[in-house]
Subunit: 427 residues, 2 copies
Amino acid sequence: MLKKAGVAILGLGVVGGGTYEILTKNKEYFKKTQGVDITVQAVLEKNKERALSLGIEESKIASSIEEVCSNPEVDIVVEVIGGTGVAKTFVKTALMSGKTVVTSNKELFAKHWPELEAEAKKMNAGLFFEASCVGGVPIIRTLIDGMQANKILSIKGIINGTTNYILTKMAYEGWSYEEALKEAQRLGYAEFDPTADVEGFDATYKLSILSSLAFNKKICIENVYREGITAITKEDIAQGKEMGYTLKLLGIGKDTEKGVEVRVHPTFIKNDNPLASVNDSFNAVHLVGDAVGEIMLYGRGAGALPTGSAIVSDIIFAAKHNEYFYASFKNNAQGNKETKFVKDFTSKYYIRLTVKDMAGVLAKIATTFAKNNISIAEVKQVGGSDNSAQIVVNTHVCAEGAVKKTLDKLSTLPEMIKVNSVIRIED
Amino acid sequence: MLKKAGVAILGLGVVGGGTYEILTKNKEYFKKTQGVDITVQAVLEKNKERALSLGIEESKIASSIEEVCSNPEVDIVVEVIGGTGVAKTFVKTALMSGKTVVTSNKELFAKHWPELEAEAKKMNAGLFFEASCVGGVPIIRTLIDGMQANKILSIKGIINGTTNYILTKMAYEGWSYEEALKEAQRLGYAEFDPTADVEGFDATYKLSILSSLAFNKKICIENVYREGITAITKEDIAQGKEMGYTLKLLGIGKDTEKGVEVRVHPTFIKNDNPLASVNDSFNAVHLVGDAVGEIMLYGRGAGALPTGSAIVSDIIFAAKHNEYFYASFKNNAQGNKETKFVKDFTSKYYIRLTVKDMAGVLAKIATTFAKNNISIAEVKQVGGSDNSAQIVVNTHVCAEGAVKKTLDKLSTLPEMIKVNSVIRIED
């Protein structure tokens, strides 16, 4: 028996256009293989020309969210506007009208999931967000319906395509950060203002959503340690290569007896780590569960059709089923408060320093680390010029706080010129 | 509101034991995070000692499938016996009693899915089989609920851990096939009689199930071309390495305008193919969808806890939801008959020959290929001894039939000593 569903798309940008394309192109296929007949009944888009150029009839171009929500032909509202301004208002309005919402908006979801979920529950409406994290990769569905048998112990992901493209080009082409960013902008991988990507905000939103699902605990973005890639140099990437490491911007979540630890930062991983060969704009998420062991999902994290794939899969799910996913954990600020977080996390560190090339400087540095209880795995001179030397120190596992203290102390040494880089190493 | 579900486990081998362990260890966690209270109410296992050693109360050890199926406390029956003998009888009996069945039995499912599904539908019972393919990797759930937006164009997978372990050891340790098999048997990765794995039967079962789901068409095992790894030599693996190729036993499915093509055979893939770095007993499935592009899922394809993870995730899904998955395509022999299959598929080929070391032999070989319309990408001598030479011919894309004809013709040449290997190359 064919189920019918009407869809409204809010915003016809890249992802909105991709969604419309898939719904139109594969309409007959969905009838046959999914038993659902999905029709785009309305769009909300200021740029009327854009809508018409996609082949959308003028009668379907709505002029307000109220018009969309009062349309009885519309069952499912797709929000692909982005941001937390009108997008939030529109999503709330749709939910309050009892419409099911499908969104790709990670910022909205990371910041306002509790509020939106409460609204959805009240109206018994669906709230779907597969497209908010890692584009076409069904990581949300996997966490909800594929990994339930497990306590997830860790989640590690390359969850931002822009920065992964930049780091890949720096590693393989020897480009500087600035060169790689410029090319990413030219290709449309990076925005004119790249802050959200390169400073790790985008990854932070996603990690907040994914780790909440993985650990069944509310994890607000304020709890995610965040560090972007703007300070990364090709020297560090080259140095890492020599040590057998690849540099990636990772989102890392761990749930241990000590508490939850969530952080986004540039990370050295061993070359044989399955995440190390995830290149260009590809994304991947690596999970460890207490039963399943390691699993990894890999694919395109962005783009019209990959993100459209996630949205349309959510639409089809919503059209077929009457049961919706609501978080089983206390999905609000109170829930977040009840979660224990590890702030002074531990890691291995790679630290590159420029010092005056004087006798005894290495010994002084080593002593400073030792005094702060940090055990050094390796220390070596990797270059220098005139009277200065470049030193790389690799530590064993130690506490973030101890490293900060050590670096503060090092800065006061007369031999010290500069702390060039501090990069965490993850096994 | 806590939902209660009672489970019976048929067979307490490796996977049955793993399932029991997860259900027991994470019971409280499932109550909290999934809202389900799952209790093992019965087991069916000839070896009573085994059951008792797992901590199962004697009163829960059933003596017959009838006893299990007439137990009103049992909602879900887990079949982890394997094979198509009693396992089939037990599964049918359970379904006929209206019990939902969760199985890891790929052979049973590949051979009798239509019959079992018909029974399940009749009784409105669930029939879950995530654990039948690729262990803990949620590939079935992904195909059913994560990729619906897509027409899947191809599926390529390393879907047998035993053969992947053997090929990895041959590649990295330089072991012979026999040496690698022996070690796999010692570690419990390979059975005493390894036929099902090394001859590709196991992969064939899985490919039949996965490609049916991927392409929404019935694909019986009879339609899957099958070739195992027993003829693979370390010479070919080494030769592949030199050309930048890794050898894997792949399950390959393609759905094109010409029809469906499904095959299991040793395959050279480029080293930068994401499947190339899937080593040891790990599995991975690579999909291409018309919207999502490439995605890959990676993880453990076997073992007590990874396979148990898939089973328990199915159990939890069954306990939480009242809607079940039944195939949308005509899931029977008739459906298979209506599917168009490509038998004379095309591929690139690597062919290693031993010939008499005589002037003009290369020209003769090249001419034979040309006469059969096969374009050669590269031909080179790679070794030899006394009066013989080893020749490797790499072809451009050509038809399987043409290759067979060419090899038949080559065998009649007086210069020909032996066709050592014919291995397909997949881009």
